[in-house]
Structures are given as C-alpha cells and as structure tokens.
Amino acid sequence: MKFAERFAGLIGVVLFLGLWEIAARFGWRNPAIMPAPSQAVWMALATIPPLTLIEHVAISLWRILAGFALGASAGVALGIAAGWYRPVALISRPFVEILRPIPPLAWIPIAIVWFGLGEPSKIFVIFLGTFFPVFTSATRGMASIHPSILRAARTMDVDGVRLLAKVAVPAAMPDIATGLRIGFGLGFGVLVAAELIAAGRGMGHLVMEARQLGQLGISVFGIFLIGLVNLVADQQLAAAIRRTVGRWHRF
C-alpha cells in the first residue's frame, strides 16, 4: 500500500517532468521563455561554480535559521507568558492586534530603514514572519489546556511556576509545534522575498540575478532549489515534531 502510493507519486513526477520537457523542447522551442527542466539544470551546473551554489544555499539557510530561531523563541516565550499571566496578555494585546495583520513582507522597507541593507534587516523580517504565527499558536495552546489537567496537577500540590513549567507548557506543546511549522513556512517565504528585493547573495538573489542576465534556465533551477530546500527543511521539522510531541499526541 505504502509502496504503491510512493510508486504512483514517482510516476506522477516523472510524467510531469517529461511532459514539461517535451512541451519546452518541441512546443516553445525557446529556452529564454520556457526552458526544459534538463536545460535548466544543465545551464546552472555549467555556469555556476559549485562553491558559489553552495554559498547561495548556505547563506539562505543561515538567514532562515537565525530568523526562525529568534522568532520562534520569542514567540514561544511571549505566547506562553501571555497565555498564563493575565497582565501580559492585556498589555501585549493592542500591539499584537495592530501588528499581526501586517503581512511580513510589508516590513521589508521599514526593516531597511531601521537596519540598513545588511543581514540584520533580513533576519528581522524573517523573525517577524515566524514570531506571529508562533505567538498565536502558543497563546491558543495555553488557552485550550483542559481545565482538569491543571486541577489534577493542583491536587498534587503543584502550583506557581512549577505548574507552568511542568504541566501547562507541555500541555500546550502540540499547538506550539503546529505554530512552529507554520512559522517556518512563512519565514521561508519571507526569506526568499527579502533576498529577491534586496540582497547580493542567497537563493532568492540567484533567481533574480539570472533573469537580469537573461538566463531563465538558471532562474528555473533556482526555483527548483528553493522548493527542494524548503520541502526538506519542513520535513525535517515535521519529523522532529513526530519524534517528540508526536509520540504522545495525534496531530
């Protein structure tokens, strides 16, 4: 069953690439408008030195990891605090309600004003892209803890910070984990956009630069690369969640 599914998926992918290849080679016949997948890969590997390619990927990964780590930890910490301590919730509410609906990409100009064109501005925007979904899920997770769980803990003489750390936070973990995945996805989208708009290196830049040089094949290759990196990273994150929270919670 499992195998059959994978096999069907593989056939699907091969069919898709094959049709594209044929359409590009015999339909459009113009790699400057519609490169075939093989042309794209060939062009990229022939033009870009492998080290440069690795550098693009590495710098993108570094940015997303830094922004995600900051955004996720801030989102989890603040979300938990707001979900547990009433005053924190009340004070943070107006700021969150005003800032949350602003799409993260809309922060790019202001990030440049505040931090310049260098790394901090990109990491800041990724931070924001990650922060809000994580914050939202964490507060939701805290709010939806089954009251019996907290009561049961209190009959065992657990209260105060211990109740928060030993009972409430673990109980909110499934929601937090979901938030982390959403946050990563958003952060990744933001990363590419930020690199597209203002960067000298990174996968987003690679895609944009290739167009300016008229090498659409390399753009296509870059797009493949972006999708692949995101997919792999997301699956790693999902697997990590399955190994931890997934051991005791059905998502």
């Binding site: 089954h146 009561r151 803990a153 209190r154 009959t155 003489d157 109980a171 973990m173």
Partner: protein
C-alpha cells in the same frame, strides 16, 4: 468512628452567576473509610461540592474540615479522579503516577517502585510505558485511580470517574474499584449520575437537588459486597431514589 470530612453550612455562589446559590448551606459528616456516593441530576452542584472539598475552589460561606483541620487549598492528603482527560498526555502511564509520587516528596527511585506496585494493583502491569492516547478509556481511568493513590491520600474524591465508559467496562471498573478500596482503605466521596453505580458501591448514598444545591435523600446501605442488582433491598432503594430524582422540577 472519627469524622474524616466535616462540612458545615457550606454555601457557594459564583461571581458571574445571578441565580439561586449553587450550594446553599450544606452540612455533611463523613466517617473515616466510609464510601459515600453523591447522586443528582446535571448541574446540581456535585462537582462544585467536590472541588471545594478538594480545595480547588473557595466556598462563599461555611467550612470544610478534613481530619479536623480546615481545608485551605488543594493537595495534602486529598486525591482526586476526574471524569476524563486529566491524565498528562505527555507522560507514560508509569510517569504519570511517578509525577504524583515525586510531588508528594517520594524519592524518584521509590516513586518508580511505587508506580509499578500501583499499576499492578489496578491491573495494568505491562502497560506502564504506554502514553494515555494508547490506552482505552477504562485503562486511562485505572491509571488515574493509581495516580490519585500515589499521593497516598486519606480521602479519595472521584468525580464521575466512570461516566465516559461503556456499561460493560463500567461494571468491571466498579468491581475493580471495590477490590482496590478493600486493599487500601480510604474515605471515598464518589459522584455519579448512575443510580445503580451508587447502589453497588456506596456505604451511604446522598441525593442532591439543584439551586440551591442541597441533600434531599440519604440512605445507608449495609449490604455486604459484592452486591447483586437483583437484591430486593437495592431494587426498592432504586425505586425510591428514582422517584426522588424524578420528582424534582
């Protein structure tokens, strides 16, 4: 026999609740090792009463004493079993029990041993490393009972612990509870909707009426256990309690 729980003039109004009091001046004395069952229709204040005895909720007036000392908060010798969903889903069966023991001050090694003992007592040896979601409803409630026992409480408060179970499992769990109770005598306050459950288990059945929550019927059952539902005394009691419950508005 000494009184394990004394409730005097206990009243409760919720802040955002304009209606008649949820509990109005309730008095009740429960002897040590007595098995008391509270029966009553939904919303008559059974959970509220139990929560106040547990120290999870503050009364508006009146007092609760456990072993002569006024209740000021949860913990300290009062174990509680909830209807469902109160196991910590991120801990295995064994760790759930250990968690309770460790919080009572048992060293972690001894807590492990205690957990194994209690799991065996409730018939769950072999499932110690399962997470709650891998256990059936009945098994989860067994863990919950073992966990409450790990606190080594003098009194055990049970709020519809078998309410979410099917009747077959439920009947088994009743026998199981009586077996455990026979081995580790405790004062038990047991809340249920099921008249039969009360009759099978209780030394004393108290029927509650709502708004203001109060006791309207009290019956002692001195029959030996295990009891049979066909016992004429129980059948007569069933009719009496049912009439009493049905008679309410």
């Amino acid at each position: 026999m000494a009184a394990a729980i004394e409730i005097g003039g206990l009243a409760k109004n919720f802040v955002n609740d304009a209606g008649p009091p949820v509990l109005g001046a309730v008095d009740l004395t429960i002897a040590e090792n007595e098995f008391v069952v509270l029966l009553g229709r939904s919303g008559c204040g059974k959970t509220t009463l139990l929560n106040i005895v547990a120290g999870l909720e503050q009364p508006s007036a009146g007092i609760v004493r456990v072993d002569g000392a006024p209740v000021t908060g949860p913990g300290a010798g009062k174990g509680m079993v909830f209807q469902q969903g109160a196991l910590f889903p991120w801990l295995t069966a064994r760790r759930n029990i250990e968690f309770a023991a460790v919080n009572r001050g048992v060293a972690s090694e001894a807590a492990g041993k205690l957990a194994d003992e209690l799991l065996a007592l409730v018939g769950l040896a072999g499932s110690e490393h399962k997470f709650p979601f891998e256990l059936s409803g009945g098994m989860q409630q067994r863990v919950a009972i073992a966990r409450a026992l790990a606190l080594d409480p003098k009194i055990l408060l049970m709020d519809e612990p078998f309410g979410a179970l099917d009747e077959i499992t439920r009947n088994e769990m009743q026998d199981e509870l009586l077996r455990v109770w026979a081995q580790r005598r405790k004062t038990v306050v047991f809340v249920t909707h099921s008249i039969w459950e009360g009759l099978i288990l209780a030394d004393r059945v108290l029927v509650m009426a709502p708004r203001p929550g109060r006791f309207v019927l009290e019956r002692r059952i001195d029959l030996p256990r295990p009891r049979r539902r066909s016992d004429p005394t129980l059948v007569a009691l069933y009719d009496e309690i049912w009439t009493c419950l049905r008679g309410e508005p």
